[in-house]
Structure formats: C-alpha cells, structure tokens
C-alpha cells in the first residue's frame, strides 16, 4: 500500500458509551465484519464488566449486545477472543481469568482459571486456539492447555521477569510466547521439544537497545517477522527476526532491534497494534492516537518509520488500547479510554485533499 501520494485521516465513526469506569482493553471478534457477518467487539473495564458490541447490518452502528457481569469482582483488565471466536477470555485484577461462551446470544462463564497470586493483567490465545497465556503482578507468566469439554490445564508457570508483567502475546503463526514487563524487558518463551518444557529463550533489555522503562504492549506484523513494542520511556521500538530460521525450528532465531521511534510521544504509550497492511497504531496517555508506517526511504542499515498521522484529543483522557479490525475492508480501528468510552474509527484517504498527480 502506497502511503506517499495521499493525505489520510482517521474519521470517528461512533462513540460507544455504557461502561461506568475507564475502559482498559478491547478485542475485535475474529471472522466478523465481512461476508455478511456483523462486526463484533468486546471491551473490558474498571467497572468489573465486559461489554460485547455488535454492528447492526441495517444502520451500521454498534449496539451493546451483552454485558458480562457478576463474575469478576475487580477491574477486568484484558479480553481476548479465541481464534474461532467461540470463546472469550477475560483477565481481572481479582486474580482470575474467566472463559465465556456465547450460547445463543447469552454469554455464560464456562470456566475460571485460578492460580495467579494477584492481579492478572493480560490474556492471549495462540494461533490455533490450543493454548492460552496469562500474566500478572506476581511476575509470572502462565501457559494453559485448552482441553475438550471446556477444561483448561496449567502446563507451565514461567518465572523470569523481576517485576509485574503487563502483557503476553503469542506469535501470530508459531507457538512462541512474548511477554513485556514493568522490569523494562521483553521476554521470549519457547517449548523445548514437545514436553511442556517452556523456558525463556531470549530477553530484550537495555543492552540490546531495549526499553528503559516499563514496556506496556507489543504487536506483530502480518508475516510475524517484525514486532513493535511501546513503553513508558516514550518510545516505540521495532524488532525483527529471521522468519525462515524460526520456522525451520532452528531454535536460534534471535530478535534484533531494528528501529526506535522517539520524539513523537511525550507521555506513556499504553498500546500499539500493527495492522495487516502495515500501519502501526499507538494509543497514549496524551489522549492521542498516532499512526506510523514504514518509510519508503530505505536506509542502508534497516527500515525506518514515519508518522503518518496524529489524532490529537482522540479521547478526553488517556488512550489505553488500540486495535485494528482484522478485516481488510474498511480499515477500522477501535480505541478504549480512561474517559469510559470506546471509539470506532475509519482510516481512509482524505478525498478532499487528494494531491494532484503531476
């Protein structure tokens, strides 16, 4: 996609109100939003509930379809749909992770994962939906196996981070787990063989050009050979790995720092998400959403990135989460904020300002 010849804008489509406290996270439901299937989005909040929003095929606007309540008794910090969209996992400060199933429009909590000593901060499903990962303030990362009849078995408790773990994210194609933490590092975990022996295979810290303060989030590009991370150190970093080596099971395909985007943010960056067509969105504590793309100027020592657009005052308060909808059509972005709302945006060329082709 050529971003050079046009001027783009992020247009607000809708503002979803309903949560009674800050919205911490959100997740687009996979396989929705195209082919006649209405788009669905889940959001989670300090009000201890999760809301599921569905777009009306008639009007195009999102309505709240369900409120998942009376299960978590503290903030719900993160939510994630299984790859099939059949299950929704919700991670809470109450130290549990709940698994919900949509049974004919009603969501029922079919399982509760316990084990963390205190607040669970993030939950992520692997690409096949066979594994789930969680992390929390107890500095640990847990891997759970998804078994038949809604059973979940803990297969590993990973220690290594020296502080609160903020987010876990599985690689988009391989069973390699990434975690980022208040200890300023990103850790990469892989299984040794096939015997549930998970261990840390790499740590990205200051010595490999890593972050110098809390790393809040990370996201992968579509091919899985690049990763973007964001931090309280006010930078966004791009990392890359040799995907062929990774896939060959070499076991030694280290991630390397490729680029640091600094000077664009002056407050903590809480969320980053890489779209399927290469746009990196960031959500920060200055209430703004920024979009970055790889620059066409290929430098000798690696790719460089440029700011495509900055949406100031995207929300009235901190932006806690941004996520591109996975459907290619209508590039849509959802954002969640301390202001208690979720916003739906459309990213498109600003037709009124299209540059003349000379």
């Amino acid at each position: 996609m050529n971003f050079a010849d046009e001027i783009f804008e992020l247009r607000e489509l809708q503002r979803l109100e309903g949560h009674a406290d800050r919205v911490w996270g959100l997740a687009w439901k996979p396989a929705t939003g195209a082919d006649g299937v209405p788009a669905v989005l889940a959001s989670c909040s300090g009000d201890k509930t999760v809301r599921v929003w569905e777009q009306s095929p008639l009007t195009g606007s999102f309505q709240c379809k369900a409120v998942l309540e009376e299960t978590h008794n503290r903030t719900v910090r993160s939510c994630a749909w299984s790859p099939s969209g059949k299950l929704l996992a919700t991670a809470s400060f109450d130290a549990t992770t709940a698994i919900w199933e949509d049974i004919g429009g009603d969501f029922a909590c079919i399982s509760t994962l316990e084990g963390h000593e205190n607040e669970v901060k993030s939950v992520s499903w692997n690409a096949s939906g066979s594994l789930l990962a969680t992390c929390g303030r107890d500095k640990s990362v847990w891997i759970w196996e998804v078994l038949p009849h809604n059973e979940f078995d803990c297969v590993s408790v990973l220690q290594g981070h020296t502080q609160d773990v903020k987010m876990v994210q599985w690689h988009p194609t391989m069973d390699i787990l990434f975690s980022c933490s208040y200890d300023n590092t990103i850790k990469i975990w892989a299984e040794d063989g096939d015997n549930d022996d998970w261990h840390c295979v790499q740590t990205l810290n200051e010595s490999n050009s890593g972050h110098t303060s809390t790393v809040w989030a990370l996201s992968f590009n579509a091919t899985g050979d690049k990763m973007v991370s964001c931090s309280d150190d006010l930078t966004i970093k791009i990392w890359g790995s040799d995907i062929m080596r990774m896939q060959s099971g070499d076991g030694n395909a280290p991630w390397k720092h490729l680029s640091t985007l600094s000077g664009y943010h002056d407050r903590t960056i809480f969320s980053v998400h890489w779209s399927r067509d290469g746009i990196i969105a960031s959500g920060a504590a200055d209430d703004a959403i920024r979009l970055f793309v790889e620059s066409e100027d290929h430098l000798v020592d690696g790719p460089s990135y440029k700011l495509l657009l900055k949406k100031e005052k995207a929300h009235e308060m901190d932006v806690n989460a941004v996520q591109w909808s996975s459907m290619e059509v209508n590039r849509r972005l959802a954002s969640a904020s301390d202001d208690g709302t979720v916003k739906i945006w459309e990213f498109a060329a600003s037709s009124a300002h299209k540059k003349l082709q000379l």
Binding site: G46, T75, R77, K166, Y182, T214, A285, K313, D318, D339
Partner: protein, 154 residues
C-alpha cells in the same frame, strides 16, 4: 510486617495560617495550585495524627500547574529517607484529587529529589496508573487511604 512506626518521632510544624482565597481573575475552570494545596494539605499522615502540611510533607511549593499543557506536578517530602509509606501518601493524593480537574489534566506525583533512598523506584510506582488503580481496589490499602482522607474532616 514492621513492628511499631516507621518514623516514631516526626518533626511537627505549626499549621500555616490559611488565607481566604478570592475568585478574582481566574476563569471558572482555571486550575489554581493554591486551591489544590488547600485540598490536600489536611490529608492525614498514614502513621501519625498530623496532617501532611504539619509534617512538612507538603507545602505550597509542592504543587505546580502548567495550564496550557494541562499538567499538574505534586512533589512531596517523606519524613524520612526510607519511608515505606511514600506510596500510600501518593495514593492518598491521587484519590483526593481524582475529580478535581478537567478530565484531560494529567497528574504526576514525585518525591522531592534526594528525599528518599529509592527515589526512582518510588516515583515509578507512584506514576504507574495500573498499579495505582489496583492498589485502590485492595481493601486494606483502601481503608488506610480512606482513614487518611476522612479523619481530617472530623
């Protein structure tokens, strides 16, 4: 658990005379550092029956406001270098001030430079909003914070 108080003999100062504040040149929603100070000066110390002002933990100079950027910085001085109550004081400040300003204002809380042995690590905790939110949901901490905020109203 430590037995006894962290700082058994704090230095207590007289309360500064209160000046009646007039709503003269300020716009309705202007953020006045002295008004903020009035709001927090009487918060009770977590360990002693004195206010943060009396213990010189806070003073008028503690509050700086950048109205253009929408930023508020509060700097406080724990009574001793190894004060383990520093994070509780930070929580009290945030909770007391939470609905005081227009929503876009950002509040940063720090210990005065050189006033704490683990200055960097305390400041990091005080400004991690996820940690602050979780701490305020913890019933024990919540109770302690409420005592500090509301006992001064008696």
């Amino acid at each position: 658990m430590t037995l006894g108080l962290i700082n058994a003999n704090p230095v207590v100062h007289a309360k500064k005379e209160r000046v009646a504040r007039n709503d003269d040149s300020h716009a309705e929603d202007a953020v006045d550092p002295l008004e903020i100070y009035d709001y927090v000066r009487d918060i009770r110390d977590p360990e002693h029956p004195y206010s943060l002002e009396q213990l010189s933990v806070l003073s008028e100079e503690s509050i700086t406001v950048d109205e253009k950027l929408g930023r508020i910085l509060i700097t406080f001085t724990p009574t001793i270098q190894h004060c383990s109550m520093a994070t509780v004081i930070g929580l009290c400040l945030r909770e007391k001030l939470k609905d005081c300003f227009p929503p876009h204002f950002k509040v940063d809380i720090k210990v005065a430079p050189g006033s704490h042995a683990n200055e960097e690590s305390v400041n990091k905790q005080l400004n991690d909003k996820e940690r602050v939110a979780a701490a305020l949901e913890n019933p024990n901490l919540r109770q302690l914070v409420d005592e500090c905020l509301y006992s001064s109203e008696l």
